[in-house]
Point group: C3
């Protein structure tokens, strides 16, 4: 029943030694082998759980979650991942405690990490802040470990920053891998990462940026489509272009949703705020200019309204490969006639893809657990064989 | 020391196969055998814990708590139950996340259940809503499991809805069973479920409804007493009448507290809001009519005041069987001279029954754990024998 | 590698039987042997964790945290300690639930303790309240256990009250023990517990009181220094004097920071509010006199400003033994030029002592775990040997 060899044999061929005792912050800082290791370990963990094999590798230990934003899905995914490996989650709730940037980051990072094996951070709201915060945090706990303060250096997992959303995009990609029957089958597939209209404002850029920064690694033809003015970070576009060149795929941009959808194997229509606007907003927040923020948000909602034709309708879907591209979304979506009057996607389209959409989401806990495991375990192949040998059921019987 | 056979032999005689992979929503949806199985497993779990035998059957796994209401006692009972079986509790806090009825229930239900073995829901405030919400939730995770999204279907435990409060009333009944020395000794006992005066407004109906819907299963003489205008759901009264007919007990109603107390073996005096008022309030909430709500609440407090004579006083207690009926309350009680000027019960009565009252409450964690176990384990008799054989201490020594 | 004997042999020589099934509320209620047992067990637990030996002694069980105050550090320390021993933390959040003093304490104490092995309470804000609350809580669960309501009596650990802060001061002392190479080396060391200027108001007295009440146990020369008007509880001063007499040390008071620092081996400069003011404030709170509170706070801030010269500067440090006394702080500190314009300590002093400061903090989880263990385990020596024999890794490999 349990076939762990197909996973360990894959891992044997990959070089991922550098992940040990390291963080997962941006996908483009990782090699293809390292990304493949994350996918493989995630699949292995899922297989073991489905076969009722306990993957509890920590008999005690904490997973710290640090969310600077409300979140149900990511919170539950992180808790599930930690629990699967035996770590208890302790929230560092900014309401309950009080943390800030600067000097106090170093102190907080050390104070909460005495028994922390992993820290998951979500900090996506302010351009130029979230990612920087994570790197500071990581430097400080590394230092703390070297100075003999921390017995272990907790692994840092980026649960969404202003630049990337690696646990989301890696889960999205693992969904594609399993949907198309292997990572090698992604080559040549056309994926349309497109902006879509939403009646709400200010959705983060980390998903479109993360998608173009990751899916260009697999030889796919990645198209980024959005109305003029909805540009993402240019640095990430450069990463995407470089990735495409190296992987034998393409990275193109267009201001036409139709063009992006035409012949696409995969579509990912999703609203986001323009990078420049988010940058402006970050500065307004910095200056405490609430009037300026309200004004900016109104402008942006008006701006959005000029692009209400950017919707994933049934007609748009007809433009795609065989009229049935795989529809992706990070959820929750703004569904026309369901959660809003006019939104990102037609109710009928969403409904038809509900099952694959939910499956897409189901990979996230395993992706997070895989990232933790690869940072904490030097030789996962040996570990998996030992887990089989240990023969402990997840559910006792 | 450890005598697990007395529990497994009881279970051998009961038919409860239908509880496996099923929810616990209303007691009257369960057969007598199934209820008896819950009591027996709860007693067995308590015995094992007291004998320091670990009943951790999950090496990892989550118990999700979804409370649409503040709650200390039920929250702690649910956490205790999950922990006893090895599940870590993750709260779905409506403040932290944002869930709603309708389409999003399906999505949330799936998104939080990827690794959830049980979901405990408390949703008792709005007539016609809480129970419906639970059933929707249950349908969606069942569907999610069938569609291959969820590896397992989490068991749903009703931690209080607008209709029933099964974990409370089952704990109350287990207290009676152990107090009177066996479920068979409940036959013929008179229990007075009566309204009592409270200076606060809007206590839910789930306890009186749950009590008349459950205690009529055991051949007891169940009397429901309240002032005119404080009627409970008529559907539940019909259930109670039917139950009584089948079990060889009686179900009667009266508008006299004295009549209910006369010769009672057990009294359960407790305030609640009239069903019709709660229904009206639900509609006012639906329409966002805060003025109407304030007006209604004032009316109801005035209404309550007309029935200040409905108190469980020392004189009232003298009317009961041998002047010493067992006094029950789901806690916290409005105690005259302690937590309020005039309330449900005299301070001296409450004080005399404090120990049995706290014991009554102590059954709830075990009842919840039992409900979870019976949904997750096909053959609990085998499980119990295996646990004895495993010989793992709860507290290592 | 693992040398558990050096810890068990120490324990063999100590008499700490009275700690079993008992609480930890004030350090001066414990014998020297008992304090030494706490240090030794804490060191042993740390050693075992560092050697990857699981110290999970509970297969299930809850640790309840009851914080009447925000707190990151103590919260994380308590969670870490519980997790290290196998207990899952459940917060009794006053926001989520609603607890109060008086009659309801008894009920809440019982209701949350059905499966609680330990309860950690922090209640430091109101003079005359926190410690009393803990003792009430403890009495009620002891009674609940005797009455057959609670299977076990949860151990109560004082996580800070209005009188003492034993987990902090015991961690501080363990830091000194390890820094100076043994508890016997503390004899004759001069420690300056001094007030320091802070631009904020109302820091609790539990640290200075706890320090003079504890460090006088070890034959140290303890000096308490503060400006006139910043007196601590006189009862605790009496305890300190008595301790010093018994241990062969000294306890002196001065209104000169310089005098305290002169030749000190250890300095602990820290702001606090005058006891009399805190008492006044407690009464104002009791009367709901918000205007009076605001007035008092302003007065106190003005008062503080008259003592801005009480800072731990580089010059002050030069007065200490060899100009390099060990600098202690319970963190977070008010650091001049970092977290405030002028505060308790110079940035350069703080920076130079950052590593030892963080190490000081790192002992707290182990101190708490030790206090729990000594209350729950009759023979820790046997336990440690059994843990070695069990040979279970904290991190599986």
């Amino acid at each position: 029943m349990i076939n762990i060899n197909k996973f360990t044999e894959k891992l044997d061929k990959l070089n991922f030694q550098n992940m040990y005792n390291n963080d997962f912050i941006l996908t483009w800082e990782k090699t293809r082998d390292e990304l493949d290791a994350v996918f493989t370990v995630a699949d292995a963990l899922r297989h073991l759980r489905e076969e009722n094999v306990s993957t509890r590798i920590f008999d005690s230990g904490l997973g710290i979650s640090l969310f600077r934003d409300n979140s149900t899905r990511t919170r539950f995914s992180f808790t599930s991942a930690c629990n699967l490996l035996g770590l208890e989650v302790q929230d560092l709730d900014e309401g309950k405690s009080q943390i800030a940037h600067g000097e106090t980051v170093r102190e907080t990072a050390n104070m909460i990490s005495f028994m922390a094996d992993v820290v998951g951070i979500r900090d996506d709201m302010y351009i130029g802040k979230g990612n920087k915060y994570m790197r500071n945090f990581s430097d400080y706990v590394k230092q703390g470990n070297e100075d003999g303060i921390l017995e272990q250096k907790p692994a840092l997992v980026n649960l969404q920053c202003d630049i990337d959303h690696p646990t989301q995009t890696m889960a999205d990609t693992l969904h594609l891998i399993n949907h198309f029957g292997g990572v090698e089958n992604l080559k040549g597939k056309k994926v349309a990462m497109t902006w879509a209209y939403s009646p709400s404002y200010g959705k983060p850029l980390s998903v479109p940026q993360g998608i173009i920064g990751l899916m260009t690694r697999f030889g796919m033809d990645v198209v980024l489509a959005h109305p003029e003015g909805y540009e993402v970070m240019s640095d990430v576009e450069k990463v995407a272009a470089k990735n495409a060149a190296e992987s034998g795929g393409t990275f193109t941009k267009t201001n036409s949703m139709e063009e992006a959808f035409k012949g696409a194997d995969i579509v990912y229509p999703k609203s986001w705020a323009p990078f420049v606007a988010m940058e402006k907003r970050t500065n307004l927040y910095g200056n405490g200019d609430t009037e300026g923020i309200a004004k900016l948000e109104n402008e942006l909602l008006e701006h959005n309204k000029q692009h209400m034709d950017w919707q994933c309708t049934e007609e748009m879907m007809k433009l795609t490969k065989d009229e049935k591209a795989l529809y992706l979304h990070c959820l929750p979506a703004d569904i026309t006639g369901v959660s809003c009057d006019v939104g990102e996607v037609d109710g009928s389209v969403f409904d038809r893809y509900r099952i694959p959409l939910y499956k897409q989401a189901s990979y996230k806990p395993y992706i997070i657990a895989s990232m933790i495991l690869l940072s904490k375990v030097k030789n996962p192949q040996e570990l998996f064989h030992a887990l089989i040998k240990r023969n402990l059921n997840r559910k006792f019987r």
